[in-house]
């Protein structure tokens, strides 16, 4: 177990392109932090830099008390789970699990005991003699996790480990992973492009864009108080509605310098208190999710999505008015994109 610290970590490619810019971040001992961002934002590169698979250009990476910038991966006390599991195809589950210990010259009997204990914990005991090609996606995933666990690393690095699984399995593995983190108590860095996964797993979430950190906060903090327009639009599904001037001209709000956003679940079909705002548009689409509907209204080419309780009276093509409280609006500076704190 160890604390992970990144100080002004920067990585430039040979052509001068900066793929990581001044990354400052500390992951506490035993914390599970998730890193999320659109593809190409540098999150996987950052993870590979922490692992030692890629070199950084400047800055410092510390694991525990040690500066690891110049250490090879095997001396960094990290384990990594890869997106496609990266199991050794020519080795059985047992051999896959044991490889890291064998390499470290752990005695055969100790290897055997540890492999079997970990396999039992992950429900792999019956599969030890199988080859990766004979396993299901979830079993491969567990094997990859087991291999990482056997290293007993200070820091556990997970690179989109669930993205190759189908959706129901993904939810199950996500719960298992969370439980595993609780029982192991190891520091974990979890990289994903799926913001809902990032929020549900991470004790804190790092949002990355274009090689730089946009915000670090708890999942609730990220969702409730995004620091800027990018984070607000990236986190949450369906994404936050950004209201163009057309929607708001009866409200008297300043739309010159400020852009307003509202979360889909904050829009309602009926007015609440006096003084609520409303917007009106043509009902374009109704999508039912059983207990909840997502409705989309449009006005002069701009669209707004709302999450509302099922309402049989809604008619496609008709005008629909949606209500919201003034304090549910988010306000962003049009020039800088940063959120105007005073608003809420």
């Amino acid at each position: 177990m160890a604390r992970l610290e990144l100080q002004r970590v920067t990585k430039s490619l040979a052509n001068g392109q900066r793929v990581l810019r001044d990354i400052d971040c500390a992951v506490n001992d035993g914390e599970l932090i998730s890193m999320v961002g659109p593809s190409g934002c540098g999150k996987s590169t950052l993870l590979r830099c922490i692992a030692g698979l890629e070199a950084i250009t400047s800055g410092e990476i510390r694991i525990g008390e040690q500066r690891v910038n110049d250490l090879p991966p095997r001396q960094r006390n990290v384990a990594m789970v890869f997106q496609n599991h990266a199991l050794y195809p020519h080795m059985t589950v047992y051999q896959n699990l044991a490889f890291g210990l064998r390499v470290r010259h752990v005695a055969r009997a100790a290897v055997d005991a540890r492999v079997r204990r970990t396999a039992a914990r992950l429900g792999l005991d019956a599969l030890l003699g199988r080859y990766p090609r004979e396993l299901s996606g979830g079993q491969r995933q567990r094997t990859a996790l087991g291999r990482a666990m056997l290293r007993e690393p200070g820091v556990f690095l997970l690179d989109e480990p669930l993205s190759s699984l189908d959706i129901p399995l993904r939810a199950e593995m996500r719960r298992e992973l969370s439980a595993l983190h609780q029982s192991l108590g190891t520091t974990m860095v979890y990289v994903t492009h799926d913001q809902s996964e990032a929020l549900s797993l991470g004790q804190r979430v790092v949002v990355l864009a274009d090689g730089a950190i946009e915000q670090i906060d708890t999942p609730d903090g990220i969702y409730q108080a995004p620091r800027n327009r990018f984070v607000a639009g990236f986190v949450g599904w369906p994404p936050m509605n950004f209201l163009s001037e057309d929607w708001l001209h009866d409200t008297g709000l300043d739309t010159q310098c400020i852009e307003y956003g509202i979360r889909p679940e904050r829009l309602r079909l009926r007015p609440g208190a006096r003084g609520d705002f409303s917007i009106i548009g043509k009902l374009e689409r109704i999508e039912s999710f059983g207990g909840e509907w997502q409705v989309e209204i449009s006005r002069q080419g701009s669209r707004v999505i709302a999450r509302v309780p099922p309402e049989t009276k809604l008619q496609r093509g008709a005008e629909l008015r949606l209500w919201f409280r003034r304090e549910d609006l988010y306000a962003f500076d049009r020039a800088t994109g940063s959120r105007m704190q005073a608003w809420r």
């Binding site: 496609n84 020519h90 490889f99 291999r147």
Partner: protein, 275 residues
Amino acid sequence: MSGRGMVLRASRYAVLIVMALATLFPLLWVTSIAFMRSPERFAGTPPLWPDHPTLVNMVNIVHQQRIGHYFLNSLIVAAATTPLSVLVAGLAGYALAQAKFRGHRLVSWVVMFAVLVPNQALVLPLFEMFSAVHLVNHYAALVLPAAANAVSIVLIQAYARAIPKDILDAARIDGASEWRTFFSVVVPLMAPMLAAVAVLTFVVSWNDFMWPMIAMQKVDMQTLPVALASIDREHYQNIGLMAAGATVAILPMMLVFLASQRYYLRAVSAGSVTD
């Protein structure tokens, strides 16, 4: 199966059978001639089948011609060349495919270019070099030049490109050194291609003629192909004896191929590695 499918299948097999016969025919004929008593009396073209099969050519090739001795020379050279060449090509091909190092492109191009250089063009400089270090008439004169083979390197490089990078990274994180990664992970993944390269190397070494003829000037050091060719010169044309020598010479290659056929075919037909 439909009638059309049957016809298609039958004609496909017919073509394959004709091709197989065309390939096998000379081999079978040579083997058959090896068991004929003085086939040269048939004014040029020996018959397909011996009228009175005999082992006299076989006995002569072993006793008079000391074929066992040359056979052993060839075997020593091929057995030393094959593992060495596979190791060198395996390391070089893997490094060129997966490692990042300065001048990587240049080296790749040089290797590619080396494929185009005919062996005959190398004979003179090689001879100069081996004379200078007094290795002419040494097994090393045949083994060392064959140890680094550009064709093998290019074949393995192409194959090694398909090894997923994540698997290599996983090994590094698991704590394996580069050597350990190579032998424990890379070699098993490249096994089919390494086997194919081994077979090719063995066959090329076994059949090589020009360089062994020049580098091995002592009769005692000659390899089988060179010794067989001199049967022709020393005596009047003894076709039966030559056929017997050729038959004996084919045997080890058949064994090598049969033993590695499974891997060999996998590498030649697949061209891809793992999932």
